[in-house]
Subunit: 267 residues, 2 copies
């Protein structure tokens, strides 16, 4: 695992917005609490206006005065100087859920994308929930059967925002029965770590490549690096996958994982 | 893993009954093909009459002349000499789906149960699908959330028929997103091997403790034996589970697993 360059908060969707708001509160804290400048990116959302408003009022309720919703509805918008400046002044950026392809197709390679990368490298916390989580990795899952056996062709992947490399993120993980598709992704390149994040659960990844779990459910890490066998290269579509000796870690709130050495930290 | 004493065909439910009937055909072959004497046990079923009839005509279509449906609707029935004799003369016994607790509560400790155990030890193939599969192990899953994070108290277990020891069987596995509950079972006693069987998929277990996969989907084996850590003994209900370094094997049709040494056979 390469050095990770900033702070990522990657949320499996459906984070609590009514009770303790543990995950959103953590985001606010990482962004600087009362002093935070939060930019909401509802780029993935079907109804960006409504979703933007929702998170706006959530972050205000959590004590942040400076919250802005950045609307990017075309690649043209993503070339605007104002938009770049908004990102560059942020201390925290939050990607909502929706369709991860909207994020990459609207932002990929634009000045706003580069502003995001720079912000990330300079230590700004970048958060994403659901589609916003999926889009973080270099190769992202854009579709595929839930509640399915691991098999060939149940998975569609595309180039992601590449803030978090050498991993594939899946979200709504246990709630939608997505082990099959995550393990199918890992079998294709066992160097990639599969990270399945449950609802109301997040991983916080810091610049030292430490991962920490926050939230009410669990994170499932699938490591195929030492797997002894897979048939993935011989399969035709719909054929069932084989993989042996994959290692799985299930980590709840407070547990940590050393991404560099691919090991849970259990001290 | 102790020596297994006979042949078990354990099916994850929804086995194909219309096209190739691969799994049912395998059962018929193991029971002696045209010479087979098959006894159908619809004990678990809500509508034993209808289910009995269905499998009766399926096995007849597959070339077995001697098929009988053994109706056990009370523990009293399970003490009948005729029922015992029926089991003792069988070359294959098939448990249908339904509610696994009906199997154990009606048969557990009865003469028919002992006849089954004797038949099994003498080499008669015992098959079960869905609930009939779940009931095979010494401790069986009787309920628990599907599509759920691994956590405390999502799992109800009960004593099973104990034909297959040191394992816990789960069925409709990928289709209902049951990794969470299977891994919760394994964490409670990592010596127990978790075996999740997908729909239209079966494991054939022989007297030498070899397991072979048959069918269109996959079998997921969760081995917690070398897991480095679990928090299971400290959890309160609904708290999320931790387990690290569990080993997972995904095995499709034709793949084998050595239960004694807990290793896939990939020669």
């Amino acid at each position: 695992m390469e050095k990770i360059e900033g702070n990522l908060l990657i949320i499996g969707g459906a984070e609590d917005k009514e009770k303790d708001c543990t995950i959103l509160r953590e985001f606010v804290k990482l962004a600087g609490s009362g002093e935070a400048k939060i930019v909401i990116m509802p780029t993935a959302a079907d109804q960006p206006e409504a979703v933007g408003k929702l998170y706006n009022s959530l972050f205000k309720d959590l004590g942040v005065r400076d919250v802005e919703v950045l609307k990017i509805e075309s690649r043209y918008d993503a070339f605007s100087k104002v938009a770049q400046k908004t990102i560059e002044e942020a201390t925290g950026v939050f990607f909502t859920g929706g369709d991860q392809l909207k994020i990459t197709s609207l932002l990929g390679g634009t000045p706003v994308d580069f502003s995001l990368q720079r912000a990330y490298k300079s230590g700004v916390v970048i958060a994403g929930t659901s589609a916003g989580a999926a889009a973080m990795s270099a190769t992202m899952i854009i579709g595929g059967n839930s509640d399915s056996s691991p098999q060939m062709g149940i998975l569609n992947m595309a180039p992601g925002m590449a803030l978090f490399n050498q991993v594939v993120i899946d979200q709504h993980f246990a709630q939608r029965g997505r082990l099959g598709r995550l393990i199918s992704a890992v079998a294709q390149n066992p160097y990639i770590l599969g990270i399945g994040i449950d609802e109301d659960t997040a991983i916080l990844v810091d610049a030292q490549a430490n991962l920490k779990v926050i939230g009410s459910q669990t994170v499932t890490i699938v490591d195929g690096y030492n797997s002894s066998y897979t048939n993935v290269s011989e399969l035709r579509p719909k054929q069932a996958l084989a993989i042996t000796d994959a290692v799985v870690h299930i980590l709840p709130n407070g547990y940590r994982f050393d991404l560099k050495n691919r090991k849970p930290v259990t001290d």
